[in-house]
């Protein structure tokens, strides 16, 4: 039986200027799920995250959270409080009034988990964007967060750093089956890393489907101005130009699927 990590019931929310964003919104996120929250700018993704995190107060409705929450924001620079990486990880422990003698071990373990063991004494200014995001992830993990929010956490990174961060999230999710990931993203390829995708438009959920199903629905993606995956675009270009003897099925949206289809078609 699926255990819920977050249950939102009939949530309504309006901004201070009276503009309504959510009306009677309901959503359930299961423990261990990787959910991608998708939608155009202003659709309410980040506000929904802020409401769940308790940073905003709903006008009505309930948000039940049966987990410890952590969040990683877009710009890692804005999230640093500590002067060194270990100070940064210690910040949350200090707030939880953990005894100082217990902190070094917890910090060491977290640094290993995020692959930053060699940077304990480094200043955040000396780190690359990807390394800074790793530390931001570590800051949430050290507090035993069961639900990790990523608010466009890879959008400011170069392609290599982006890949390394998404791989790290994947590794953490694999290692801990109870870890719930809620990834707010505009990147179509990143959506495929998750199992489920929820599309928001003007504060309403317009799609809640398995990620693969959503990303295969090219008409829906075009209609709502959501991007296609790189492979999906490539497949449609190849099919248009008739460069191959036969058409590649449009359901092929990931590199893995394309490679497997190409290998099989050559047999």
């Amino acid at each position: 039986m699926m255990v819920s990590a977050i249950v939102i019931n009939n949530l309504s929310f309006s901004f201070d200027d009276g503009q309504e964003l959510f009306r009677q919104l309901s959503l359930q996120v299961n423990r261990g799920e990787w959910l991608s929250l998708v939608g155009r700018n202003g659709s309410g993704k980040s506000t929904l995250m802020r409401l769940i995190l308790g940073l905003e107060t709903p006008s009505s409705g309930t948000i039940k959270v049966a987990a410890r929450l952590g969040a990683v924001f877009q710009n890692p620079e804005d999230q640093f409080i500590g002067a060194t990486v270990e100070d940064e990880l210690a910040f949350g422990l200090e707030n939880q009034q953990i005894k100082p003698e217990l902190m070094p071990n917890k910090i060491k373990e977290t640094l290993q988990e995020i692959g930053m063991s060699d940077y304990a004494k480094s200043s955040p200014d000396q780190l690359s964007g990807g390394q800074k995001q790793r530390v931001a992830i570590g800051s949430a993990l050290i507090l035993n967060a069961d639900v990790l929010f990523f608010d466009e956490a890879t959008s400011m990174l170069d392609p290599l750093a982006r890949e390394s961060i998404i791989n790290l999230i994947g590794k953490l999710h694999k290692q801990n089956p109870n870890l719930t990931i809620i990834n707010i993203t505009h990147d179509p390829d990143e959506i495929l890393w998750g199992q489920r995708a929820v599309v928001l438009e003007k504060g309403k959920i317009i799609a809640d489907e398995p990620a693969k199903v959503l990303m295969s629905d090219i008409d829906f993606l075009h209609h709502h101005q959501l991007g296609e995956t790189f492979v999906s675009k490539l497949v449609s270009k190849i099919n248009q130009k008739r460069s191959l003897n036969r058409k590649i099925p449009s359901s092929i949206i990931s590199q893995k699927e394309l490679l497997s289809w190409l290998l099989n078609s050559n047999k």
Partner: protein, 269 residues
């Protein structure tokens, strides 16, 4: 790196190993002692002390120069004010006379002293901030101000405020450089036109900086809240301050230097 003030540069140096309280106390009293100096001998001792501190920090002098460069125009302005507004004590004191403008040797010496005091002060505070993480500075201040908590002063919050301010100085400085570059690329120039025009040019650079500062502060507040921050009073501290033998030795050396400065200053009088 435009501004190194508030930036921590980790090195395996003697100064990096000192208790932050030792460095804070030395920095505080150094500024007072600097006001006592009144001869080339006393200034010489202070220059030697600062140079030795820089050497012990293992941070290249070039880095300190970078920090100084950003406030150089302010120092030059202060020197000019001293140079132009110090009246000559007598006719023999006048070095250059041109109409109403008279530059005296007293004015020249005063302007050099002002610049020297400024440089030494900046160098000493930079030595503290580059060798000590802002969180350790906060712990040090909090520990030094502990007696004041008995009269109801929230020293932990005060220390955390200082730590975060120090942390944000270089970030906002970098942000300002980006804004300046962005505005310059659109044709705004700080180097041409009258002083009034140049001052007006600063407005489109300062307003975005204030906006960015607010945005960053709000994100940081969210981050702190998510990570369980309620108030500074109830927090534990990762850094356990240890006053070691080396701290005592450094404090004794500084005390001897301080007394020698006071002695030589009065001996001259």
């Amino acid at each position: 790196m435009n501004n190194i003030f508030g930036r921590f540069l980790p090195t395996d140096s003697l100064l990096g190993k000192l208790d932050p309280r030792t460095k804070i106390v030395i920095d505080f009293f150094f500024v007072i002692i600097l006001l006592f100096a009144n001869s080339w001998l006393t200034y010489g001792i202070l220059i030697f002390f600062v140079a030795f501190a820089i050497y012990c920090s293992k941070i290249p002098i070039k880095v300190f120069w970078l920090g100084l460069r950003s406030i150089l125009s302010l120092v030059i302005l202060m020197m000019l004010i001293q140079l132009l507004l110090t009246a000559p004590s007598d006719q023999s004191d006048i070095l250059i006379s041109f109409g109403w403008l008279r530059i005296s040797s007293t004015g020249l010496i005063n302007s050099i002293i002002i610049a020297l005091r400024f440089f030494l002060m900046i160098f000493m505070t930079t030595v503290l901030t580059v060798t000590t993480p802002s969180t350790s500075i906060a712990d040090g201040i909090s520990s030094l101000l502990k007696p004041l908590s008995k009269i109801g002063l929230d020293t932990k919050t005060f220390a955390l405020l200082i730590s975060m301010t120090l942390r944000f100085v270089p970030i906002l400085s970098d942000e300002f450089s980006t804004i300046v570059d962005a505005q310059r690329s659109r044709g705004l120039s700080l180097k041409t036109g009258s002083i009034v025009k140049r001052t007006k040019t600063l407005i489109p650079m300062i307003i975005p900086l204030i906006s960015v500062a607010f945005k960053k502060a709000l994100t940081l507040a969210d981050t702190m809240e998510i990570r369980g921050f309620i108030d500074a009073k109830s927090r534990t501290s990762f850094h356990q301050l240890k006053f070691q033998k080396i701290d005592l030795i450094v404090l004794i050396i500084f005390t001897v230097i301080s007394f020698s400065i006071v002695y030589f200053s009065y001996a001259k009088l």
